[in-house]
């Protein structure tokens, strides 16, 4: 049994303070979005070589948001003031009892992460794990307290997304699900409880859509044309190629691998257009080139064109 939110409050712990695990841009985005809503955030970089969780990393992200009117300059300062960096995960800060995994990665990486968390934090902590293309129940195999683990999908763009998928695993306790749902609400978003199937709703559907879009290009279509058509036809804010660049093609490649293994369906196999780009490390927005090319101020250009 996990303690209820009220029981945690009685011990001085609060959902107003959370730990966010990061391995790059996604982690910073989640930390900043939570801080923007007034939460105190402790961020931990799990892969320091590709992860800037110090103030400079946030400053660049927040500056871009201020430039695009997502938040004001004073709000950006307030966001920074509520984020602190932890060097390593030995124990939780006194008031926190929710660890939010905002890293990417496949089955083995996540299993290892959950094992480490259990050693560091014990059974008392609730873990919201970003499950990629794997079922939450499978990620929890081999840990002693699977009841404390609940899936929480951060599908970009996290900041703007009004809903987040909360995915209870087979053993997740109602208290843990309630705590994670409460965290989502505290972030000003609506929790959508989804069944524990690999990739849940969003990752499965997105990979299928992206694969179809790549096949359309294979058949003679253009990347820009496909994106624009799908945007207008389906009322999407981003086309699948632009969204893929924003998520990171390496991340999607991992999702494909997970989904094929977990579902047994070749429908999710990574398309050549994806694997070739990942092979060349053209992994999307973050490196300046993916399906699109990006100018230094973040504008997307169609492949082969210098301006859009």
């Amino acid at each position: 049994m996990s303690p209820t939110i009220d029981e945690q409050k009685s011990t001085g712990r609060s959902l107003e303070e959370v730990v966010v695990l990061s391995d790059g841009r996604l982690g910073r985005e989640v930390a900043a979005a939570a801080s923007f809503c007034g939460l105190k955030v402790h961020i931990i970089c799990l892969e320091t070589e590709k992860c800037d969780c110090q103030a400079d990393g946030f400053k660049a992200d927040l500056k871009a948001k201020v430039q695009r009117w997502t938040l004001s300059a004073s709000e950006a300062k307030a966001v920074l003031s509520r984020i602190s960096t932890l060097k390593e995960l030995k124990s939780l800060p006194a008031k926190a009892w929710l660890v939010v995994d905002a890293t990417n990665g496949g089955l083995e990486k996540k299993k290892e992460l959950l094992r480490r968390l259990e050693v560091a934090c014990g059974a008392d902590v609730i873990v919201a794990v970003n499950p990629g293309g794997v079922a939450v129940a499978k990620l929890c195999a081999g840990i002693s307290h699977p009841g404390s683990v609940v899936g929480l999908r951060f599908f970009p763009p996290v900041w703007d997304s009004p809903k987040l998928e909360v995915i209870p695993g087979r053993n997740s306790t109602p208290e843990a699900v309630a705590a994670v749902s409460e965290f989502v609400k505290r972030m000003g978003k609506t929790p959508v409880v989804t069944p524990d199937i690999p990739g849940a709703y969003s990752v499965r559907s997105f990979v299928s859509l992206l694969n179809s879009a790549m096949k359309t290009v294979d058949a003679g279509g253009k990347i820009c044309g496909t994106d624009n058509s799908l945007r207008s036809a389906m009322g999407l804010t981003s086309g699948p190629f632009a969204l893929a660049d924003s998520i990171g093609l390496d991340v999607i490649s991992e999702w494909c691998e997970d989904l094929v293994r977990e579902s047994g369906s070749a429908e999710f196999s990574a398309h050549r257009m994806l694997t070739e780009r990942v092979g060349r490390r053209e992994i999307g927005f973050e490196c300046g080139k993916g399906f699109f090319e990006y100018t230094t101020d973040g504008r997307a250009c169609c492949p082969g064109k210098s301006t859009k």
């Binding site: 609060s14 695009r68 004001s72 307030a78």
Partner: protein, 402 residues
Amino acid sequence: MKVLVVNAGSSSIKYQLLVPPNPEPLCSGTLEKIGIPGSFLTHKAKGEKYRLDRDVLDHSQGIEWVLEVLVDSKMGVIRSISELDAVGHRMVHGGEKFYEPAVVTPEVMQVLIECTPLAPLHNPHNIKGIDACTKLLPGTPQAVVFDTAFHHTMPKYAYLYPLPMELYEKHRYRRYGFHGTSHYYVAVEVAKKMGRENDPNFKVVTCHLGNGCSVAAVKGGKSIDTSMGYTPVEGLMMGTRCGDVDPFLFVAIMEKYNLNAAQLSNLMNKFSGLLGISGLSNDMRTLEENMGKHEGAKLAIEMFSYRVLKYIGAYTAALGGLDALVFTGGIGTNGDVIREWICPNLSYLGLKMDPELNKAAMGNKTMKISTPDSRVEVWAYLTNEELVIAEQTAEIVGSLKK
């Protein structure tokens, strides 16, 4: 009657303890950063100022702290909270449900909650303030006073937007107007000063110019039009809000920059107005200090003043003449530069501002700044919304006891 006036925002609570009709509060203060590390309270009483620090997690804890301070042996002004006769809450939006102040009952609370979609940024926090007082002061009557209420006398042809009627009928999309308590106060007070408080033809344009700005046309003590609309974004150029802009421009900007609704809302509310034009500050004082050396500051002041001038002209036409022009709010009472820009452009009305008096009306003063032979009196007038809330609360709670 001792009335605690509460203005609860998203992360702040402003309060005053008043004994109406005395305009001087027994004490006043602001609690800031509720739910955010580093919350603090500033309190003024008996000529002293205090700053206190304590973590405050929610509005309930905030009100609890305010009550503690009120009865504190050193900083306090009452011996026991039982001395509080009533609590008056500022409520931003009353929709079409509330035209008058209301005593808080479970039924009224239900309607207030139903009004939340009309002011999602303000009403929920006002409600939190009421909930906290209900919990901590269970026997003390409470009343709500609405920012929108004063404007309920606008005729239908003034408050409707020329959109398909279905939108009004189904969703009550219309002009509501804000700053009503302030417009009411200065309009009534100036009418009294001019001995015309009972004159149904007394025509006054009130300009509430603070970080948020609005103009109202008031005839015989009743609002007949106001510049803010369904939300406070419409109307004048403000500190960071844009005011009137061709609405279709927003469609074009959304498409050009692929913006979502939240970004567009921020663009209109937080990045525009004086800040957006000057690129320097949303604070008129900073702009005035820099207007001689900063093009953006000069342009922002000109645009701001020009837009106020246009509304004064429009509302003079709507009123069919003008007896008094009132400037209130932080910029209104201290903004000699903008008054100096605006008033000479109204000389066709026989309005004559005295430049010396205009300069003298600095530092939050109430005074007439027109010449004795001016056909329109011009006033810089300090507003007192808290006093109105206290008076109206005392009146409605008093009538309850009779």
